[in-house]
Amino acid sequence: MKELICITCPKGCHLKVDEKTFAVTGNACPRGAVYGENELRNPVRVLTSTVAVLGSGAQRLPVKTDRPIPKGKLFAAMDELNKLRISAPVHVGDVLLPHIAGTDSNLVATKTLL
């Protein structure tokens, strides 16, 4: 049994995951079961950061990956997004970099800057 704290939401359920069957107990909702299994099989995280932006009053544009990416690819993704220079206007949800770090996730803007 592996003991985990669920990070799907701020509630932080204390999960127990069976290493062989991936059966999850201690979860208050179905998302906890999915998290518990994935955390043992292939842990993933949503990456959030900022990129340089030109042409608006702001210095930085906040961004995120639109899907979670494997934990091991976080720093590769940071290297890619740090090379970006975005020009305003940009809208929340705009794709700035598709398939970041070779994943099926896109880097999107999380703020509208006009």
Binding site: L4, I5, C6, I7, T8, C9, P10, G12, H14, R45, V46, L47, T48, S49, T50, A52, G57, A58, Q59, R60, P62, V63, K64, K71, L74, F75, M78, V92, T110, K111, T112
Partner: protein, 418 residues
């Protein structure tokens, strides 16, 4: 002097939600005063995700959450005045403001919502000994530098305090290339959410030293070393346990203080436990027509709860303006064993169902929250896990409140059975 029906001080999540709900209740002359360049408050620099699961049933980043509310408010006639500082507020609900655009202005408000939020405790508040060098920041200040202004504040970092902002900054600094050497927590447990310990510290192998604190700061111009010592049960440093970290940056995440200078100037009664106004169930303060919500009232864990509370305050402000105010005898709420505070601090009997928010003082498992009317227990709520870092809530239905005999209800934690 200009007049407005409803003036809201602060354009963060609390102020925006209060404005929106007051508008929905029919108030048409609403002015939000915001001292920053843009509305949205602290959400603008909280670029991480995890916001909105309750309010929007999806996981949003801070700017996205603020954006949702700004879009909703933008569809109404609510005015937002940025770059505007409120200098003074008095008990007649007169505000004195200053801004580059309008200069000095006095405003008579029909009703006021206090939504100023909170600010961070600093090095001075916790009296860390040692050199007065540069490189010591509150975690939120460093977050603003990094996420809004685009400056890295350091390369080798120690974080004092395991509150959520400190944990979030541990991850953020690491992702941006800094080496976070340690997160140091005075208490035997973390003040942050469990999920943040997992995804901000454990994910990056950042050690968390519980029952430790910073006992010396060394450096001439810039910070060079931080000394960390273990503490005993009385939180006094233990000699001989010193660890020295070579670092250029110390981030402080040592608590938040509701920002109530204006409330105090106006004469609003402040609760010494929360450092926020004493409020009724509708979030009205001791001054009629002045309401408070969000982190100015008590520090929340989740913005979703701030929005919910502020919507209630906005509705109550609208009701006040429409001449409808709750009535009924006062029922005091008293924090009992291991309960740090309650919000609201008192309710009108007959006000309907009442939700009570509070924090416990220590980590507890398999226990229960008890509500007492004198010596009689009138309600009991089982809890598997409680911690000071997690705000608790219980709902007392009207039928229960109607049956209360005394004038005080005590909210307490059941002592664990041996």
């Amino acid at each position: 002097m200009t007049t407005h029906e409803l003036v809201i001080i602060g354009g963060g999540p609390a102020g925006l939600a209060a404005a929106l709900s007051a508008w929905e209740q029919g108030v048409r002359d609403i002015l939000i005063l915001e001292r920053d360049k843009e509305a949205g408050g602290i959400l603008n620099q909280c670029i991480h995700n995890g916001f909105g699961l309750h309010r929007f049933q999806e996981e949003l980043t801070g700017p996205e959450y603020a954006g949702r509310y700004l879009d909703l408010v933008g569809k109404t006639g609510v005015q937002i005045r940025t770059d505007t500082m409120v200098l003074d507020l008095d008990e007649r609900r007169v505000l004195h403001t200053i801004s580059p655009q309008y200069g000095y202005e006095a405003i008579q408000a029909g009703a006021v919502v206090l939504a100023m939020g909170c600010r961070e405790r600093t090095r001075g508040a916790i009296s860390i000994p040692g050199a007065r060098c540069s490189g010591i920041f509150t975690a939120g200040a460093a977050q603003r530098f990094l996420n809004i202004e685009g400056y890295m504040v350091g390369k080798r970092v120690v974080i004092l305090g395991s509150g959520d902002i400190g944990l979030i900054m541990a991850r953020r600094m690491t992702l941006e290339g800094a080496k976070v050497l340690a997160c140091v927590e005075l208490m035997p447990y973390s003040g942050g959410l469990n999920r943040n310990i997992v995804q901000c510290l454990n994910d990056f192998d950042i050690p968390l030293y519980l029952s430790h604190t910073v006992t010396d700061i060394r450096g001439k111009d810039r910070l060079a070393q931080v000394v960390v010592s273990q503490v005993d049960e009385t939180r006094a440093p233990i000699a001989g346990t010193e660890m020295v970290f070579d670092c250029d940056t110390l981030l402080l995440s040592v608590g938040l203080l509701p920002e109530n200078e204006l409330s105090r100037q106006a004469g609003v009664v402040i609760d010494r436990r929360t450092n926020g106004p004493v409020v009724w169930e509708n979030r009205e303060t001791s001054i009629p027509g002045v309401f408070a919500c969000g982190n100015v009232l008590h520090v929340h864990d989740l913005v979703d709860y701030v929005s919910a509370e502020s919507e209630a305050a906005g509705r109550a402000a609208a009701a006040f303006l429409q001449g409808k105010s709750p009535e009924g005898p006062e029922l005091k709420l008293e924090p009992g064993f291991d309960v740090g505070y309650t919000v609201p601090q008192h309710v009108h009997k007959g006000a309907g169902d009442v939700e009570i928010f509070f924090r416990v003082r220590s980590v507890r498992r398999n226990t229960a929250i008890r509500v007492r009317d004198g010596q009689t227990q009138i309600a009991r709520f089982r809890r598997e896990h409680m911690a000071p870092g997690e705000m608790e809530t219980i709902k007392l239905p009207r039928v229960l409140l109607d049956r209360v005999q005394g004038d005080t209800l005590t909210i307490e934690i059941e002592e664990a059975e041996a």
